[in-house]
Amino acid sequence: MKSETGFDPALYARFPTPGERPEGELEELERIWCAPRGWQLLTAVNNNYIGFFYVAAAFLFFLLAGILALVMRVQLALPLQGVLPQDTYNQFFTMHGTVMMFLFAVPMVEAIGVLLLPQMLAARDLPFPRLSAYAFWAYFVGGLCFFTSLFFGLAPDGGWFMYPPYTSITYSPGINADFWLLGIGFIEISAIAGAIEIVVGVLRTRAPGMTLDKMPIYAWAMLVFGVMIIIAFPSVILGTLLLELERAFNWPFFDPTRGGDALLWQHLFWFFGHPEVYIIFLPASGLVSMMVATMTRTPLVGHYLIVLAFLATGFISFGVWAHHMFTTGMPNLSIGFFSAASMAVSVPAGIQVFSWIATFAVGKPRYNVPTLFLLGGIVTFVIGGLTGVMVAMVPFDWQAHDSYFIVAHLHHVLIGGMVFPMFAAFYYWTPMTSSRALSEQLGKWAFWLMFTGMQVTFWPMHLVGLMGMPRRVYTYLPGREWEVINMISTVGAFTLAAGVLAFLIDVARNFRFTTDSDAGNVYGGGTLEWLPTGLYSTRSIPVVKSREPLWDDPKLAEDVEAGRYFLPGSATGLRETIITSPLRAEPQYLQIMPGPSAWPFLGAVFTAGFFILLTVQAYIPSFACGILAVICVLRWLWDTDRLVKEPDVDVGAGIRLPTYVTGPDSHGWWAMMILLIVVGMIFVMGVFSFFYLYGVQPRFWVAPADLWSLAMVLPAYGAASGLAWLARYMLAREATELWTPGVLFLCGAIALATGIGADLWSWIASGLRPDASGQGATVYALLGLEAMLAAIGLLMAGYISARNSRGMIVRPHNNSLDLCVLWVIYTAGQGALTAVLTRAVGG
């Protein structure tokens, strides 16, 4: 048999192990994983809790943004209504879009992932439980503060797309726009944290034997989802940074009179914004694929086709961003490329839809509430997809763009593609996390009201859009016959809301949260999340031999519950899970996991505080919060990366796995690599902005800093990476008394700071100022990014020295040092590229 890691797959034959498990093993497992109670629940990090909080919070934002939509529909029901004054309406529609996209849709799919994935992969938890806790609390606290701005009339009013120059300081002098930029900025950071968690989780914490082809389709969807966030979100992070720099310090990125360009924002925003749609849709599609299979009691037809569809969507969706810009007057050739890619991306959608239809045809569908939502979702999504093909046709888009036709299109796609599947998932997976299932009867009411309401609301909008009604209007004049259509839409919106209300009643009556006495496998699903679970997930971690293990091995649940598989108890007396290899899921080592801690929660609160206080220009409290946040994060990290006594332990059936692994096999290394990809993407988008502005307005560009300065900058960066590498190398050698790795690393970080300092100095000496032109702004932005990374490098040096002094940097290899070395080497590389590229053009 082929092996990826040297693990012999024949060992799987030892499971299920015969015989009884020792007395007290299960009790110990329960004790180790038991959750904090009362107020202490804030310190919980287990995915059962964090996932549930996350879903609940995201749903709260769905309701809030939905209420905004209802008020807007009242305002538009008749021409020239006075329900919402102009300013308030503009804030309402901005908040509706922003909250739905950033505070509901992405967090919701991520939340469902946090809740479901470990269960589905039979991992004890996600690989970085404290990171998910941090991501959740930062999102929740920050999101609530952000939403509250509406009550003070301070909510952003530039649209969820925030196009400058309208959102520049000249035309939006208030702090409303800053709320958007800073509020969204860190919600993006929280999304990225979650994505790193999910990618590493799917690739490295699958149950043994769960090879790529046996991975549940939902895990595939989440893998692609995570990678897409990692590639797409940096673009909008950079965009928000640039716009905030322009607003705060007058750096003209988007100001055409000084060599900026308003369209740069649109490129940055939509490079994120369109993949965003698929980031929302793919996880939902994964859920649909899982549920269709269960509801028809048959394996998904064309599983590999759907996997391919996910992968293809993940790629091609990055080639369609400019179809939001067909009317900006781009050259025909560019427009054509984006039109073609927009067509191409609908092929994977077709594959998914026909795959579901084929599965329905093979199996015997049951007509319960999840199935209804699935069918309603498929039909609605197809309608949205087809209007999507229509607007991918450039000339048609010239008419439809920014009209109500688009409003109808995007709501069909998002409600059909994500909201209906989400409700199906709520009904389907509630028995996993509640002691009672939801009601079939109320559920049917909820579905039919929502489905009817949805169609009644949005079908007429296609028409009124083609009758000339633009989007984002707070009112319209009478006499164009838009009145009747708008009134119908409003009635539909309230019908839709009534459906949501029915669902809420159902939840209030039947939902009872539990982690260990859930209602069980009501619908007869075949994947691992339906194994009996406690807070530790499954008692033992099964060997996976097929895609629907529960269908193929009826005894599996019993064996797992009796502890006859991997890791029947705790091997080290700590929280732990098995890390497996990425392709064939062969067990590699035992990961020791951190338990409950207040630090992620406090860190998140202070992070949110930093951004929010910064927005309201309370600088001193804000920076105090920032420092506290850093301290909290360092304090939480301090507990991690510890050795346990036993270098390797028995994880069941006599199979021994190491408890501490360093280097490219460790999950920490993977997470750091992904983080570096995120940073690298921010850098790439920064370089794109630099060359883009040069291409648009070269006449504003002056001669760059002289090349001689490179003679100082490049060696400094070279020294930084060399010293960092040396620190790691010397740690592995026995005799390193004088040059302790801590000191070497510190020298590396200082070299890094020298490099960026020299580069900065040479640019200042060249006379270019950041507020002078697009060139100045982008050059100093790139330098600023590099300086920030270098500052983090210095912080790391302090952290490493502190650990070193406590003897926590262990030989021969140590994860904390490894990861910091990676960081410094990357930063040095980026710094060198920055220095060379910024001098490449101009003059």
Binding site: Q86, I357, F396, W398, L466
Partner: protein, 309 residues
Amino acid sequence: MTSGSIFAVFDPAGPYAGSITTLAWVLIAMFVAVLAVVIAALWIALRGSGRLKARLGGTRAIWIGGIGFPVVVLTALLVYGLTLTRHLTAPMPQDAMRVRITGEMWWWRVAYLDPSGRPFMLDANELHIPAGRPVLLELESNDVIHSFWVPRLSGKLDMVPGRRNTLPIQADGPGVFAGQCAEYCGGPHALMGFVVIAHEPAAFDRMMAARRAPRPVPDERGRQLFRSTGCAACHRIAGTEANGMAGPDLTHVGSRRSLGAGILPNNRGTLAGWIGDSQAIKPGNRMPPYKTLSAADLQALAAYLEARK
């Protein structure tokens, strides 16, 4: 105020909008056909006979329905769309009439250009064109992004600060065509309308000639008032000392069909009302209210402006 057919995109008035309407009908047919296929397939999958279900239940169905069929349809559409794009953006004849329209918060600056590209006549919020002849619009913006959209004449095109976009339009016959700003530009974006009026070519030439003819001396009292009240700081009236460029050009304001960028009928009464308190009519617009004007002055100003044909 606004006028014209309510069916906008479905009732094109010229070739540029017309070919898009044809495309729209083709796309709608595609929409209906594909939706019908999907719903039929879903119906068979759920309720069909065993034989039909068996044919649908397999990867072959996905290959045909999910890959083959879309590839064929989309290739055809892509070729159609790209060809039409090229056709619609083909260069205009050199001698075509050119007009520069500049987006402002929240109105439109209109400048008729001579063959050398210099403005020879200024106006606002209304465009007069000859029927049956193509007209090239140069679209610009002085502040934020706006979008020019008169659905019965052509698709929309954005007005981006720092850039100049060109849009060809043509009306086949005389008529009045309503438009509206289509890119959110803040504040009263919803009340930023526009009107295109197409004339018989002969009538159009007469109108332009009349506008360019030497103007009779305007009434002295109104002119005085226009200056002393401060109107002239923002508004221009050709042939007088009023030369402000911040607000709409009022040289021909009396001949406009609407006030406040396509939102209010234009007559002496509404002119007076607009001057007195335009904020009550179009909240957020840039013109301050003049509530302190005396009755006689307001009357005289309104009469003066109404006479600027």
